[in-house]
Symmetry: C2
Subunit: 344 residues, 2 copies
C-alpha cells in the first residue's frame, strides 16, 4: 500500500509527453533539491521535464546540477503533467500557479501538515523529514539509477530540511537514505559548506551585533533582539543577512520562544522560533502573520518599542498555555503517522 | 581480517576479572561516550569495568548513562586489563597513566593519526569518524545487545566527533550506524540539545561581541578576533564560554584560517582553525603549541598587539605554502585507509 502512490505518480510521469515541476515561492533547499532530482531522473528517461521557481534559486543552491536551467517565468504552452512541490495551496507556486491549474494531471507532493489536498494525485506524507525522501520513492519507482548528480540534489533536500541531521524529524530512514546518497557520489559536506559556512563578513558582524544585544524576559524563557537599518549599515550587511539570528537565540539554554524584530520600510517584521510546546504560529496569527509551530512571523506597522511590547505580551500568554496540559513537543517536528496519503 | 582485532579485544575483556577504561585529559564527547558504552556492555556481561577520567565529565555529558560513576581519582588496586581511550600517549590519561602502565594487558584504542602505538593490543583505525565506531565493533564482538543506554552513549560519541554529521569525516558507515543506534532507542536530538543548544546568555553575548569585532586580513582569507577580560565581564561570561567562537570565524565565506586571541593570566592564548589545506598545527608549533591540521592552539607571553602581529605573519607564510603544490584537504579529515591497524 505504502508504495502505491509513488508508483502511480511514476507511471503518470514516465508516460507524459512533458512535465512541469513547480517550486513554492521563497524556495528552500528541500524544494529546489527535490525538484531538480525529479527533473534529472525524468530527463534520463527521455521525458522533457522542467523546473519552475517564481522566485528563482537562492545563491547557496546555484551549484546544484540543473539549477542553471530553472525557469522563473512560465512558458506559454501548457503542460500535460505538472507537479506542485511543497505548495500548501496552488497559489504558493506564484507565477507558476496558472500553469499548474492548466495541466491535465496535477500532482501534489508535500510533507507539511498545512497542505490543502488539491490535485489529481496527492502524495502527502508528514512523516517524511524532507520532500526529498518522497521524491526518492518516486525515482525508485521510475527505475532511474541514482547517479551522483541526482544524489547531490537529494542530499541538498535532506540536509537543509533536517538542519544537517540536527532536527528531531530525522529518522533511521533519513540516515540510511543519506548513506546511500553518499555512496552514489553525493557529498553532505558540499551542502553544509554552501548552506552553513558562507557567511559574509557583514553578515557575521550583524549576527554579532544582534547577539551582543540579546534581551531576556519571562525568567529567561523568552529571548529577543532587534535589527535596525543603522546596524545593517554599520555591519555592511544585506537584508538576507538576518538569516540564522533568531535560530541562535532559540538555541540558548532555557529559551522557549525567541524573536527577532527588524525595522523595515513596511513596518516591524518579527521572526519567531519556539520549542517545548510553545507555538510560534499562534503568536504570529494574533498579528495577522503565519507559519508553523516551530517557526513563524508577522509584520506590523508601528514603532519598534510598541511592537516589541505587544508581541512580548502575546508570547507570555502563549507560554502560559504551553505550560498547561498540552503534550510537549520540540517545535521542529513534521509529524503524523507514516502512510497518511490520499488520492482524489 | 578487519574484525580480528575487535574480537581479540572482546575476548580479552570478557575473560578479565576487572577492567579500567581511561579517558584522555580534557575529555570530549567521543571519548566519554565510547568509554561509557564499553563499560555498560562489559557490566551487562558481569565484568566489573570502571571508567576513569582525570578531568571529570564536561557538564553537557553528565546526563549520559553511567556518567555519575566515572572516577576522577584512580583506586589503589591494580587492574588486570586497562583500555586507553583516544590517548595518543599513555601520559594523556593524566592521573590514570600509572594505572594503565600497571595493567597486565593494556589495550590502546584510537582513531587519531597522532597515536604513538603503545600497548599490548593496538586498535588504531584512522578511517573511523569517531572512536565510538570502533567501540561498536568491540561491543558487537562481545555479543552484548545494544540497548537504549549503550546507544545513547555511542550517539554522543558519533554526534560530537562529526559536528552532528557536518564534518567531512562522515561516511555511509557512520550514517548507518547512527540509524541503528536511533532504532535501538538512542536520540540524536538529545545530544544536539545538550551540546549545541545550551549557550548561556553570557556566552551568547560574548560570542556576539567577538563576532561583531571580527577583523580580516590576507584578502579575506584570514579572520581573527580577540576576547579580553573586559569583554568577559561586560557579557557576564565564564572562561569556557569562548567555545565555538573561532569555529564560526572559520565558517565565513573565503576564510582559510581563523584565530581567536584571548587575554589570559598566562599570556595570550590563540585558538586556530583552518581549512582548504592550511595547517593549524604548523602555525601553532611555530609558537610551541600543537594540535592537528584543522584545529590547534598556543599560548605566548607578550602584549595582545605583539602576539597578533607575530601570529598573522606566520599565518601568511602558511597560506603561501597551502597555495603551493600540496594536495588540498578540508582540514577536518581523520584520514588513512581503513584497516590500518596493528598489534604488538
Amino acid at each position: 500500500m505504502a508504495t502505491t502512490l509513488p508508483r502511480q505518480i511514476a507511471t503518470t510521469l514516465r508516460t507524459s509527453p512533458n512535465a512541469l515541476i513547480a517550486c513554492h515561492v521563497s524556495p528552500d533547499g528541500d524544494c529546489i533539491g527535490a525538484s531538480l532530482a525529479l527533473a534529472l531522473a525524468l530527463n534520463r528517461l527521455g521525458v522533457p521535464a522542467v523546473v519552475g521557481s517564481a522566485d528563482g534559486v537562492p545563491e547557496m543552491f546555484t551549484d546544484l546540477p540543473g539549477a542553471a536551467e530553472i525557469m522563473t517565468v512560465p512558458p506559454v504552452e501548457a503542460f500535460t503533467t505538472a507537479v506542485a512541490m511543497e505548495c500548501s495551496t496552488i497559489d504558493r507556486a506564484g507565477a507558476f500557479a496558472e500553469a499548474l491549474q492548466r495541466a491535465r494531471t496535477l500532482i501534489n507532493i508535500d510533507h507539511h501538515l498545512s497542505n490543502a489536498g488539491y490535485g489529481h494525485l496527492v502524495y502527502w506524507d508528514t512523516s517524511a523529514s524532507a520532500v526529498g525522501e518522497q521524491i526518492t520513492e518516486i525515482i525508485r519507482a521510475l527505475g532511474t539509477p541514482v547517479d551522483a548528480a541526482i544524489a547531490q540534489c537529494l542530499l541538498a533536500a535532506l540536509v537543509t530540511d533536517t538542519g544537517a541531521f540536527r532536527y528531531p524529524n530525522v529518522t533511521p530512514h533519513t540516515l540510511r537514505l543519506a548513506a546511500e546518497l553518499v555512496e552514489a557520489g553525493g557529498s553532505i559536506h558540499r551542502v553544509v559548506e554552501r548552506v552553513y559556512e558562507t557567511r559574509s563578513p557583514g553578515s557575521l558582524k550583524l549576527l554579532g551585533m544582534a547577539l551582543a544585544s540579546v534581551r531576556l524576559s519571562a525568567d529567561g524563557r523568552v529571548a529577543w533582539t532587534v535589527v535596525t537599518p543603522e546596524m545593517m549599515a554599520a555591519a555592511g550587511a544585506l537584508p538576507e543577512d538576518t538569516t540564522g539570528i533568531v535560530g541562535m537565540l532559540r538555541a540558548m539554554r532555557g529559551v522557549k520562544v525567541a524573536l527577532m524584530f527588524e525595522v523595515t520600510p513596511d513596518g516591524i517584521r518579527a521572526s519567531i522560533r519556539s520549542r517545548d510546546g510553545a507555538r510560534s504560529n499562534v503568536i504570529a496569527e494574533t498579528f495577522g502573520g503565519g507559519g508553523h509551530q516551530g517557526a513563524a512571523g508577522f509584520t506590523l506597522p508601528g514603532t519598534l518599542d510598541d511592537v516589541v511590547m505587544k508581541a512580548l505580551a502575546v508570547v507570555d500568554k502563549e507560554l502560559h498555555e504551553a505550560d498547561g496540559a498540552r503534550p510537549r513537543t520540540t517545535g521542529n517536528e513534521v509529524t503524523r503517522k507514516r502512510g497518511n496519503r490520499k488520492t482524489r
